[in-house]
């Protein structure tokens, strides 16, 4: 999965949780909660949607990694790659 795809999939999740937020100009290196009206319950939902949609587990101690879009990409890309590898091997 490319970095752009990971970024888009995070934005898709945020859009479904908070359809009233404008996501057209989300800065990748600024904390999501500083530019969007998201609180801790919304972040929990992002984690839960990742599990539901993509079977990606994010343990609680790693939640901080998802604070920016860039952080999401850096943290999630290897997980997606690992998952794709596992699926290929299966």
């Amino acid at each position: 999965m490319t970095n752009n795809e990971v970024r888009q999939l995070i934005l898709d999740i945020i859009h479904d949780i908070a359809p009233d937020e404008d996501l057209s100009d989300v800065k990748p290196d600024v904390r999501l909660r500083d530019q969007l009206d998201l609180d801790s319950m919304d972040f929990l939902d992002i984690v839960m949607e990742l599990r539901k949609r993509h079977q990606i587990e994010v343990p609680e101690e790693d939640y901080m990694e998802l604070s920016t879009l860039d952080g999401c990409v850096n943290y999630l890309s290897p997980k997606f790659a690992e998952k794709a590898g596992a699926e290929q091997r299966a």
Binding site: D20, D37, M41, M48, R51, K52
Partner: protein, 465 residues
């Protein structure tokens, strides 16, 4: 035997909200509902060719379009249930009043306007009111257990005029206190914000609009609902729910969320011999709905909701008469700021009632009907004083007593707001059985939905199982 991840007892607002939330995350969930229709305390029905909402006076927690600020309860519900803000079709109130004899406080969905109203009627109290209002700005964490703090006592730290305290408490009690004559200060804050800061609204097409959205979403997500399927017993063994026996067979579940109530849930359990009936609520109501031949506004009923009381002291307790006509709530749905005016002229009135009297009459249908009629006549006379006499304009009358509430909600004593002993964490002494809805601590439509969401999160979705 059929197995579900989660079984929910009751298809009211909390049960449906919990069901949507749980089904959204892919769990197999079943809602069991005793009656034909869903909605619980906030259901709907048709009688005499008229559609009625069972209990809807107002939806609290109005969310102003374009609102920015700390997260509000309705926003929380929309996000957690993935519902778009316009789906409930909520429209705001125009105005409501609290009337104690000659004193009247008018409020709408604007806390600053209420501050001005306090200044006008109780000039010496305005500073205290502003301090109180600021103290209430932030909602407490609602599902944590905290000791009871008397709101009445707290209020005296802000206000010195007893009449103002009574008048402020009156709508809050009527719309959300299961305890007599007082309310926990945390609950006071929730009610203060829900009613005075955010305020009232109403779905254009009544409560069914909200229920339709929830049920449709629940079914789209694969949630199952069985109606006319009362839970007959909850079999508990070794501190866990082993099975639920229903009118239509036995099911098993990893987790059971019950919105039946604290005492009512105990009564269903196979391992409880004596449910704690002394913990059941005692606050019950009669309510009458009148279809009129003209707009109630033309008769002088200008408010969406009028809360009234005779005398300076408001008695929020079980009366020793069948119906306490000294106080009440009058609701006029057509006074909401609806885009299209409602074609029907409805007036509804609520009074505190003595559940003992109405339950005792249950054996004697004729006497029950006759008494209901007598008290309705008296209510008409009382309510007329807050607008104009309207007896000659009545085209249809329907109403309920505590007995009706008991029948449709199973609440002991027909107590609409359930037990005063709230179980804020939802936990019971059975590992996988949790309470939600009225007896978990939230009331009202928004409160009930939030309860369902909070309990689903805490006891089903947390931990990620």
């Amino acid at each position: 035997m059929e197995h579900f991840d989660v079984v929910i007892v009751g298809a009211g607002m909390s049960g449906l909200a919990a069901g949507v939330r749980i089904a959204h995350f892919g769990k197999r969930v079943l809602i069991l509902e005793k009656h034909t229709l869903w909605g619980g305390l906030n259901s709907f029905y048709k009688k005499g060719g008229h559609h009625f909402d069972v209990g809807l006076h107002a939806v609290t927690n109005w969310l102003r379009p374009g609102y920015k600020g700390p997260r509000l309860p309705l926003q929380r519900i929309y996000r957690q249930l993935r519902i778009k803000p316009d789906e409930f079709e909520l429209e705001p109130q125009t105005r409501s009043s609290v009337v104690f004899d000659d004193a009247r406080l008018v409020f709408a969905n604007d806390i600053d306007a209420l501050t001005e109203e306090v200044r006008r009627v109780f000039p010496s109290q305005v500073d205290g009111f502003v301090r109180l209002s600021e103290r209430c700005l932030h909602y407490p964490e609602a599902n944590e257990a905290t000791p009871f703090v008397s709101a009445r006592k707290m209020l005296t730290e802000y206000l010195s005029e007893p009449l103002l305290i009574e008048m402020l408490l009156c709508p809050l009690f009527f719309y959300g206190s299961a305890a007599e004559d007082d309310v926990d200060f945390e609950q006071f804050i929730i009610l203060f914000n829900s009613i005075y800061r955010e305020g009232f609204c109403r779905p254009r097409r009544g409560v069914k609009q909200i229920l339709d959205v929830l049920v449709k979403r629940y079914e789209e997500l694969g949630g199952e609902m069985r109606r006319k399927c009362a839970v007959e017993s909850i079999e508990v063994e070794g501190g866990r729910v082993k099975a639920l026996h229903t009118a239509k067979g036995t099911v098993t579940a990893d987790v059971v969320l019950s919105s039946a109530g604290l005492v009512e849930t105990q009564a269903l359990r196979s391992d409880v011999e004596a449910p704690e009936v002394d913990k059941a609520g005692r606050l019950a109501f009669t309510e009458t709905l009148w279809v009129l031949d003209q707009d109630p506004k033309k008769l002088g009923f200008d408010d969406c909701v009028t809360f009234f009381n005779e005398g300076p002291k408001f008695a929020w307790r079980r009366p020793d008469v069948p119906v306490d006509l000294r106080s009440g709530v009058i609701c006029v749905p057509s006074n909401y700021d609806h885009e299209e005016p409602l074609e029907r002229h409805l007036l509804r009135a609520t009074h505190l009632a003595d559940h003992r009297y109405w339950m005792a009459l249950a054996e004697d249908r004729e006497k029950y009907d006759a008494e209901k009629k007598v008290w309705t006549e008296r209510s008409i006379e009382t309510i007329g004083r807050y607008g104009a006499p309207f007896a000659e304009h009545i085209r249809y009358t329907d109403g309920f007593t505590p007995r009706t509430v008991k029948h449709f909600t199973s609440h002991v004593h027909g107590a609409v707001y359930g037990s005063p002993h709230k179980q804020k964490t939802g936990r019971t002494d059975v590992d996988n059985l949790f309470l939600m809805g009225t007896d978990q601590g939230f009331v009202g439509i928004v409160g009930a939905m939030l309860s369902g969401v909070a309990m689903a999160n805490a006891h089903v979705l947390a931990g990620g199982a």
